[in-house]
């Protein structure tokens, strides 16, 4: 369990004070994949660096596995850090060392026989599918391969926790998916707790079970990924969801005033927030309530096993029957919004 209580971190640059993290409290359970999302400069990196105390919080406490890290001596802290792996956006492999030597690197604090370290490193390289490149130098590898070496290196000391700071942000979408799949399998096979820092909603959606949203150093919203993204409370969260979804175009359409509606028409948005989207809801309501739905946009995707997304369209029919249809949809966990009606 990682527990941050009222963690704040400020930097002073000249006379200026920058509050990078402000009063963040957070609990991350053992064995979960926890996401922290936010735009650039939100304080995500500073926050994750507070977890292994690369950055010492200005105030607040950091507890990992029941140990209060801010109270430990430097030597004890180094020991605790060996129980937490970390990977980075730019991989940070040692350029003068081969792939194998990079993976051995974190083991060399102990007097373990060389063969034993090599054996361990080769096992880890096999785990990340790179056994063939043990003798290569980092400069000879692709970005995805470098990140896999970095993961192998981070796992060398058998950590229980893996911290990932924008680990896929320098990679193309296909490679990103490969790395995410690797992280997911490490989580499943080793019970590794993974903390994922990112500015990409796709990353959180694809591997995280819970997410926290950061803005200007504050944690503005947190919860299960499906819940946070299907019914976002904060504007910044909506911006992330909106940026990833066509459904927000409907707001622009309604705001532009270019759409002219007849008296029995309204612009509606149905958002799916839970199971049930597999039912043909639109055709059910149009048939059952005798309505016509002219679909403008539809966007549904899966987060974990649950769908989120929705449909935007112009719904035509008399008000009482439309109300009946709305009630039917709400019963099935569909959020109903009327974005524009005929101004009469």
């Amino acid at each position: 369990m990682i527990r941050l209580s009222h963690v704040s971190k400020s930097f002073t640059r000249g006379k200026e004070r920058i509050d990078a993290v402000r009063d963040v409290s957070l609990e991350i359970n053992d064995g979960e994949i926890f996401g922290v999302i936010g735009f650039s400069g939100a304080g995500k990196s500073t926050l994750v660096r507070c977890i292994n105390l690369l950055e010492r919080p200005t105030s607040g406490t950091v507890e990992v596995g029941g140990l209060e890290l801010t109270a430990l001596s430097p030597a004890r802290l180094r020991e605790v850090r060996r129980g937490m792996g970390m990977i980075f956006q730019h991989f940070n492999l040692m350029p003068s060392r081969t792939v194998l030597e990079n993976v051995i690197f974190p083991l060399q604090y102990r007097k373990i026989p060389r063969e034993q370290m090599e054996q361990k490193a080769r096992g880890l390289l096999r785990r990340v599918d790179l056994e063939g490149r043990a003798a290569a130098y980092p400069s000879e590898l692709s970005g995805g391969q470098k990140q896999r070496v970095a993961i192998a290196r981070a796992l060398a000391t058998d950590p229980k926790i893996l911290l990932c700071d924008e680990a896929t942000s320098a990679l193309d979408p296909t490679t990103t998916q490969e790395i995410l799949a690797l992280l997911r399998s490490l989580n499943a096979d080793l019970g590794l707790t993974i903390v994922v820092i990112t500015h990409e909603m796709a990353v959180v959606k694809s591997i995280c079970s819970r997410v926290a949203v950061m803005e200007q150093g504050r944690l503005v919203e947190q919860g299960p990924v499906l819940k946070v993204f299907s019914s976002p409370r904060e504007k910044v969260t909506r911006d992330f969801v909106g940026a990833a979804s066509n459904l927000s175009k409907a707001d622009l359409l309604a705001a532009s005033g270019t759409l002219s509606l007849r008296p029995d028409e309204r612009l509606v948005r149905f958002s799916y927030t839970g199971p049930g989207v597999s039912e043909p809801l639109i055709s059910t309501i149009t048939a059952r309530y005798g309505l016509v739905m002219n679909i403008l946009f539809a966007d549904v995707e899966l987060i974990g096993d649950s769908p989120i997304g929705g449909t935007v369209g112009i719904l035509t029919g008399p008000t009482e029957r439309v109300e009946g249809a709305f009630a039917y949809l709400r019963e099935r966990n569909v959020r109903v919004e009327v974005l524009q009606e005929c101004k009469s």
Binding site: P74, R78, R81, F88, N92, S96, Q108, R153
Partner: protein, 226 residues
């Protein structure tokens, strides 16, 4: 052939033994003072890096003292240093003349320059590597040896080449005040007695030394760059 050599360098031939001795005196000064300066320069260069703001052993006072001291010594011309350090030389080596007497000024003249060079070599190490090492639980000493120094080997060799070559120049100057060596040899015969051929032969010998330093250095750089 023998005649041609005699015609070209008439004054050198009778002094071959002395040239040989001068060469070894220069090599001796280079190796001893260069060796000491190398160790001190690396130590000071590392200290400048790790005590700077935001680095692993940040220490304002230590950094400021080192930084200013180096600047002061760097701004003193070497000839003045030679004279000014005579009492210090006597204290440390027991003499202020000859090759041994030249050691102290040579070290003092080289260390500030070399420390700055080492500092800039280490400064080019990516912060990310230090962070990665910290996250793996390395101690400050581990980071200095296994990241800062290990990853800067090619750059340190490069700045060592530059410093060694400028050290040749300093040994020649030290020679002029009785330190012996190739500089002394060239000045005594080539300059003061107008035996120009002695000067040219000395220049050739020095050029050979420079090229040996460059070749050895480049070989190490090539082997350690990936």
């Amino acid at each position: 052939m023998q005649e041609l050599i005699n015609a070209l360098i008439p004054h050198v031939i009778p002094k071959l033994d002395e040239l040989w001795i001068s060469l070894w005196q220069t090599v001796y000064m280079m190796v001893v003072s260069g060796g000491i300066a190398f160790v001190l320069g690396v130590v000071f260069g590392v200290m400048l890096i790790v005590t700077r703001e935001g680095d692993i052993l940040e220490h304002r006072v230590c950094f400021a003292v080192l930084d200013r001291t180096i600047n002061i010594f760097r701004s003193i011309p070497f000839v003045i240093l030679l004279a000014a350090l005579i009492p210090v030389s006597r204290l440390i080596t027991g003499t202020a003349i000859g090759t041994t007497g030249a050691m102290v000024p040579l070290v003092v003249g080289t260390v500030p320059f070399f420390s700055r060079q080492v500092e800039s070599a280490l400064a080019s190490i990516d912060r990310g590597l230090i962070e990665a090492a910290q996250s793996m639980g390395l101690s400050p000493l581990g980071i200095i040896f296994r990241v800062y120094l290990k990853e800067s080997i090619p750059n340190i060799v490069r700045v060592t080449q530059i410093t060694a070559i400028s050290l040749i120049g300093l040994t020649a100057m030290a020679g002029a005040i009785g330190g012996g060596g190739l500089g002394d040899f060239a000045i005594r015969y080539g300059h003061q007695r107008g035996q120009t051929d002695v000067t040219y032969v000395t220049v050739v010998v020095i050029l050979v030394m420079v090229s040996v330093i460059q070749r050895v250095g480049n070989l190490i750089i090539k082997r350690t760059t990936h």
